[in-house]
Amino acid sequence: MCDHTFVAITFGPCDSCTLNKPLMNIYLQNEPVNYCSLCVEMMACQGLTQGENLASLKAESEGLKLRLEEERAKLHDVELHQAAEKVEPLGQLVTKARRSLKGHGNKVLCTDWCRDKRRLVSSSQVTEHAVTMPCTWVMACAYAPSGCAIACGGLDNKCSVYPLSLDKNENLSAKKKSVAMHTNYLSACSFTNSDMQILTSSGDGTCALWDVESGQLLQSFHGHSADVLSLDLAPSETGNTFVSGGCDKKANVWDMRSGQNIQSFETHESDINSVKYYPSGDAFATGSDDATCRLYDLRADREVAIYSKESIIFGASSVDFSISGRLLFAGYNDYTINVWDVLKGTRVSILFGHENRVSTVRVSPDGTAFCSGSWDHTLRVRTGRYLSLSDTHTHTHTHTHSLT
């Protein structure tokens, strides 16, 4: 469990304005203080005080950066593939496409599995799976944990919740409820542990937490300097953090209670299209436009693995882990899906079959299959099994692509 906010005081009187508010723990002149978010912003916004100029501030920030790198280097004593030396390498993949869902008339943009492990919601360019939305691009969709509602949004800048009913003919648009309002397109949304709260990220550079019933904004998260493209909630037991990735090449980890940006990773060379937590919650993977996927360790506070190959040139649009965290499925803009061995850092297979960009890859909640949605209007559900190396010798025909 990696939740640094575990023992911090997160609500109480602010040290500067003494009002009872959610608190951020920051350091002023190396002294720990608890400020509310407003006071932090005001402090950061104040102009140059006496004796300071832009150059001195820059020098100070560079100095801190060097110290940070030093500290990180001291703790960095082993690489991931070294730590995983004793792990048996994976053999060949035997995979098969089980379902090819062709209901969409247009590009599939986003999918989400229901917790019952067999249902999917998907959104597309013109219409969503069962509901027609009054905007052209529905880029985010999510299934509620109870399975009784779905949330979706896109170019309409809103996130709307549709309660699902057993009656197939009922007009779902009639019961729609607008929950989130951003000033620009909605790029991703996700329910938290219940149907009552939604976390959204938007092209306007912010993420926000909303109460579904009242539509009230509970917390907003500012810190990205460009569009935020995706987010993922931590699976840890205290469940108080989430990670977001954006066009400013940064992946930020946030505390949901105070809105504070706890950790930030900026090692990618281009936009981060997708972020996903490792099953234990101690690490997360990102897929980016620079054609690499990277693994970041939250406890060691650094990037620990890069999944890239010279022949992979086009950006990764979506990533997801298998249940054990051994495999990382990544969908790319060159119409393929690459499967990486997380521990060894090697690619174990490449899957073909889509005729346009793979826009979303999601593993089912019990890990039995994964679904890939693409701009070629189809969703493909695939299963597979990695034979151990000893099995591979007896298996004469091994394919690494899908069948329709």
Partner: protein
């Protein structure tokens, strides 16, 4: 390569691609809106064609059109995404054209002209295979992407942008026509291109191209003189070239427009989805606010405790190895993967309200306390154990606090009050045992209840259960009993006929809302039981 640069200099009569025309927005606008806004600005005019605005109203037209667009669709996002792949592909294509180590090229005679630097599909695939150490299929996929982006174009069948690994002929596109992140292919240029072809030979345009030409004629009507003049100029300049150069240039231009204005029923690889709000090429302004934010953040990062790589990476490896046997991609799930055999038994055995769980599930509960709590069946078993120990209040409090945290905002104060009365007030029926400081903080916070008011107490109780109760549970007869009773399903071994039968009998599962309602009823039943029991116990005590 030298021939290509000659074209670049010769084509300075073309409008620069960085033309600042905002008319790129025009195709978004519905024709009726164009007419409506034009009508608003029209006075009387001599050259008035039906359906298109008069030239005299040009300036006003632009303003109203722009305003109309802003109101309808423009939320300020009009920057193209970064497209980091383009630079890498450019480097690759340059390598391909290297005379010594690149793909071998030859001259091809075609219709009495000789086309230089032609490459065959199979040579491209072979070169990629050897150069990047990949297998043939991947090489072909990569090659197809190069064609789809327009870096290589086919000579035969130019509208199908795939790489055929046979003798099909291709050429590398000239850098002038490479796709660029900064500049979008403009409608004006497209109109000029279509006009050129139309002028050269009437009827050469395809059906869809004629459609588009007509639409452009309407939208760009006010610039039409300019467009036609440009087309004529370029044709004239082209005539001064050698025939083979002219032919090559026409192929290049055609390939460019097939990529950027794909024929119907095909897609363009340059289609990137939605525009971005922030310009990826702009530098963030580095003012004092920018630096101060970084300083605050880095100070906090330095002070935060970090862990050695051996410890954290070791934990990651251990987690993966522990769960390896539970990953259907690595170990076959028993009895069989429902997606593979169309047999639902695996899902039925793992339902949250199942009577007897499988051995795998029971083993998983022992991996960590949260694993046990997360699985509804595991939580039920744990609750059973706590009931035997008469310490069910801890779990009940934790669950109630979870519900408060994740519940609706309007219900917070009501829930907080119930929780206080049930768990925290002195003499409460399910009083939980937490240390004085936490109790004090919590009670004080409950005066103004908010979502996270119970966090401290909840964490305390969670840690208590995790460090003490959980391990006792694992050693208890309740757990050992369920371990013994747990099912170990045998793997299915379906014949092909049976598999077909299964596929035919596929049914959708229960609606999630039905299962949810069932779970809610069950929850109400168990919680009321606890309360009644405690109340009875209290009553008996007092008596």
């Amino acid at each position: 390569m030298s021939k290509h640069s000659k074209f670049q200099t010769a084509l300075c009569s073309r409008p620069p691609r960085r033309s600042t025309i905002t008319w790129a927005f025009l195709p978004l606008l519905h024709q009726a809106e164009v007419n409506a806004s034009a009508r608003r600005s029209t006075t009387s005019s001599s050259r008035h064609q039906s359906g298109s605005p008069p030239v005299g109203a040009h300036v006003h037209f632009e303003k109203t059109v722009k305003m109309t667009i802003k109101l309808i669709r423009d939320h300020g996002q009009h920057y193209r995404p970064r497209m980091a792949c383009l630079k890498k592909v450019e480097a690759l294509v340059i390598e391909m054209q290297d005379p010594k180590s690149g793909v071998k090229s030859f001259e091809q005679k075609r219709n009495a002209t000789s086309i230089p630097h032609v490459i065959a599909g199979q040579d491209i695939t072979a070169w990629i295979t050897s150069h990047m150490t990949v297998d043939a299929q991947e090489a072909q996929a990569l090659g197809t992407m190069l064609v789809a982006y327009g870096f290589i174009y086919p000579l035969q069948d130019p509208k199908t942008l795939i790489l055929r690994p046979d003798g099909s002929l291709y050429r590398c596109q000239t850098p002038y026509f490479w796709p660029a992140q900064k500049w979008k292919a403009q409608d004006t240029d497209y109109a000029i291109y279509l006009a050129k072809r139309n002028i050269r030979k009437k009827g050469i345009l395809d059906q869809y191209e004629q459609e588009r030409y007509r639409k452009l004629h309407k939208w760009l009507n006010h610039k039409w003189d300019f467009i036609v003049n440009q087309a004529k100029e370029q044709t004239r300049a082209g005539k001064a070239r050698m025939k083979s150069d002219r032919v090559v240039f026409s192929y290049q231009e055609r390939a460019y427009w097939i990529v950027h204005r794909p024929p119907p029923q095909t897609h363009s690889a340059m289609d990137y989805g939605v525009d971005r709000l922030i310009d990826p090429n702009a530098e963030e302004e580095k003012n004092s606010y920018y630096y101060r934010r970084i300083i605050i953040f880095r100070q906090q990062a330095i002070m935060r405790s970090k862990v050695k790589s051996t410890v954290s990476l070791g934990a990651l490896v251990k987690h993966t190895m522990t769960y390896q046997s539970h990953d259907p991609f690595l170990t076959p799930c028993l009895p069989s993967n429902p997606w593979q055999t169309d047999d639902d038994t695996y899902w039925a055995l793992n339902m949250p309200d199942v009577d007897l769980p499988t051995k795998m599930t029971v083993e998983r509960w022992s991996y960590g306390f949260y694993e046990l709590l997360r699985d509804p069946r595991g939580r039920a078993d744990f609750r059973l154990f706590l009931k035997k120990e008469f310490s069910g209040e801890n779990l009940a409090f934790w669950e109630a606090a979870e519900e408060l945290k994740w519940g609706a905002a309007s219900a917070i104060s009501e829930k907080a009050e119930t929780i206080f009365k049930t768990f925290l007030a002195p003499g409460a029926p399910c009083w939980i045992n937490i240390d004085g400081r936490t109790m004090g903080l919590t009670v004080k916070g409950l005066q103004h209840p908010h979502r996270h008011v119970l966090d401290a107490a909840q964490n305390h109780i969670f840690m208590l259960m995790k460090k003490d109760t959980f391990y006792r549970y694992l050693k208890s007869p309740v757990y050992k009993d369920i371990q013994k009773k747990a099912i170990s399903p045998a793997p299915h071994n379906f014949t092909d006929a049976q598999l077909e039968q299964n596929a035919r009998n596929r049914k959708p599962g229960l609606y999630p809302s039905v299962t949810w309602q069932r779970q809610q009823k069950e929850k109400v039943r168990t919680t009321t039981l606890i309360d009644i029991k405690k109340l009875m116990a209290n009553k008996l005590d007092r008596q």
